[in-house]
């Protein structure tokens, strides 16, 4: 993940690349009969998703439904405008992309970083994301809107949001978050540690849902979670066994043989999803199925950091030492606990709510 120093020649090439993005997007917009601007509130600012592909909009918009702004925001200047389109449904020529060797690994990501531009190209997914953060403009192109993997539909434009959120003093992290308007918990750990089970179990409780895989956090002026996606993803066997009431609500019930189960929380639990809350605790879940009850236990800040930071850095690909240091500050500022998950899934939210009450001084 070495940062590459910029050159004047490279900057000139970048300008050409931006022209190519704009040209491809314009062709898609014309083929689609214009663009659709969807407005969202994110990290204290307005973000516009400008779609030039109805097919792509249909697939990516549900993840952001809980962040949609009301009529009052209709004319506020956006801090970020993301242009989204695909070539397959619009016939637009693909934009210029990095040249890559033929034998790239399936999930390889090619990353370009120049002030003030960042780009990430994944040839395996045929996806290009570019952010010009000084201009507040981004582009997200995919080859085929109908061939988007379920995880990209559930958590769209992750790289663009990660880069842009940094300019808003927010860090996108690999974690789930549930809580109340007065305080919530960031649930951290590698894939399979129980994050999604914890988050989705909250849908029948007093806790609000802010995400199960990626959320943003800021430490200034006080620690706070910003929700990014209203989607939840869980192993099919787990949802059938642990949360069977969610099975009829899954968006991909017919594809569970090859995909994780996906539920769009805003669609089915509109009152349960939140845009964020003050961050009161970091929880490190561990499955302890032999016991029925769920318990909050002591854990070290280093253990919480080890559960949070490596998976965030390795999942987000383009995160650097600044992100690592921010997560260290986070575990220093916010109380950290272990969460031993028992077999009674319905008791998980209560254990978290009790902890949050205790931390806020409510008995």
């Amino acid at each position: 993940m070495t940062e590459v120093a910029g050159t004047e020649g490279a900057a000139a090439e970048w300008a050409g690349g931006l022209d190519g993005l704009g040209e491809s997007f314009a062709v898609a917009a014309e083929a689609s009969g214009g663009v659709s601007d969807d407005r969202y509130a994110l990290a204290g600012a307005t973000v516009v998703l400008r779609f030039a592909s109805p097919a792509l909009r249909e697939r990516l918009s549900p993840a952001f439904a809980h962040l949609a702004t009301g009529p009052d925001d209709a004319t506020a200047p956006p801090a970020l405008t993301v242009h989204l389109w695909d070539s397959s449904s619009t016939g637009a020529e693909p934009p210029p992309r990095p040249a890559v060797p033929d034998n790239y690994a399936e999930g390889a990501l090619y990353h370009f970083d120049r002030p003030s531009l960042r780009a990430a190209y994944q040839p395996g997914l045929e996806t290009l994301s570019v952010l010009d953060w000084t201009a507040g403009t981004a582009w997200h192109w995919v080859a085929d809107a109908f061939d988007q993997p379920y995880w990209d539909q559930a958590c769209p434009i992750r790289q663009i949001l990660f880069w842009w959120l940094g300019s808003r003093n927010y860090l996108q992290v690999h974690g789930a978050a549930v809580g109340t308007p007065t305080g919530g918990a960031l649930v951290v750990g590698k894939a399979g540690s129980g994050k999604s089970t914890v988050a989705l179990s909250s849908l029948d409780s007093q806790l609000l849902y802010a995400g199960d895989d990626y959320v943003a956090v800021t430490l200034e002026p006080v620690p706070r979670v910003q929700s990014l996606y209203s989607s939840g993803k869980i192993e099919p066997d787990h949802v059938r066994k642990l949360l069977p009431h969610l099975v009829p609500l899954l968006s991909n019930r017919d594809r569970l043989d090859k995909e994780k189960a996906v539920v769009y929380v805003r669609q089915h639990f509109p009152e349960q999803v939140t845009s964020g809350f003050p961050l009161s605790a970091v929880l490190v879940p561990k499955v302890r199925g032999a016991r029925r009850e769920t318990r909050v236990v002591e854990t070290s800040r280093a253990a919480a950091f080890a559960a949070l930071a490596p998976s965030t850095i390795l999942q987000l690909h383009t995160a650097g030492p600044d992100s690592f240091a921010t997560m260290a500050r986070l575990v220093h500022q916010v109380p950290c606990f272990g969460l031993e998950l028992g077999s009674d899934i319905s008791a998980i939210p209560e254990a978290i709510a009790d902890l949050l009450d205790r931390l806020s001084g409510v008995e």
Partner: protein, 155 residues
């Protein structure tokens, strides 16, 4: 003991110290590590210097640990070998000036028993790097179109 000088292998390596425990991540292999006790003290000396030798580390640690010089040398040597093998430190080469006397963050007035430093290794996230490797694209890359070869690109 060794006079070869070492440095933290940035930018392939990130590290943070949390309440005396150091968490280190190797971005190339996707492996992360936990280091405590004397290992954390050694890592602290390496991270604070542009280049540091085993001899200098032993000299500094002798002021805070109550053990024989031979035991200290064995522990430091073994730990530096581990760090080198795991790609967490690199040979700093010659010509890099060192401060001469290394400073420890703790004072050495009360010496404590020396325990052999260990590197706890976690490999459960290596797949993220092996399946989804990250490559930097320089000025020879984007926005060139894919039909143009990218010299020197690795896969």
């Amino acid at each position: 003991m060794g006079s070869a000088r070492f440095r933290v292998k940035t930018p392939d390596v990130m590290h943070e110290s949390i309440e005396g425990e150091v968490i280190i991540i190797n971005l190339v292999s996707g492996t992360y590590y936990s280091v405590r006790g004397s290992g954390a003290a050694i890592w602290g000396l390496v991270q604070d210097a542009e280049a540091v030798s085993g001899d200098e580390i032993v000299e500094a640690l002798s002021t805070i640990f109550d053990c024989s010089r031979a035991e200290l040398e064995r522990g430091v040597m073994q730990f530096l070998d581990d760090l080198l093998r795991e790609g967490l430190v690199a040979d700093a080469g010659t010509g890099v000036e060192t401060p001469g006397t290394l400073k420890l963050s703790e004072n050495g007035q009360t010496r404590r028993p020396f325990e052999m430093p260990t590197l706890e290794k976690y490999t459960d996230m290596q797949d993220l790097v092996l399946i989804d490797p990250v490559h930097q694209v320089d000025e020879a890359g984007w926005p060139r179109r894919p039909d143009a070869a990218m010299p020197g690109a690795d896969a």
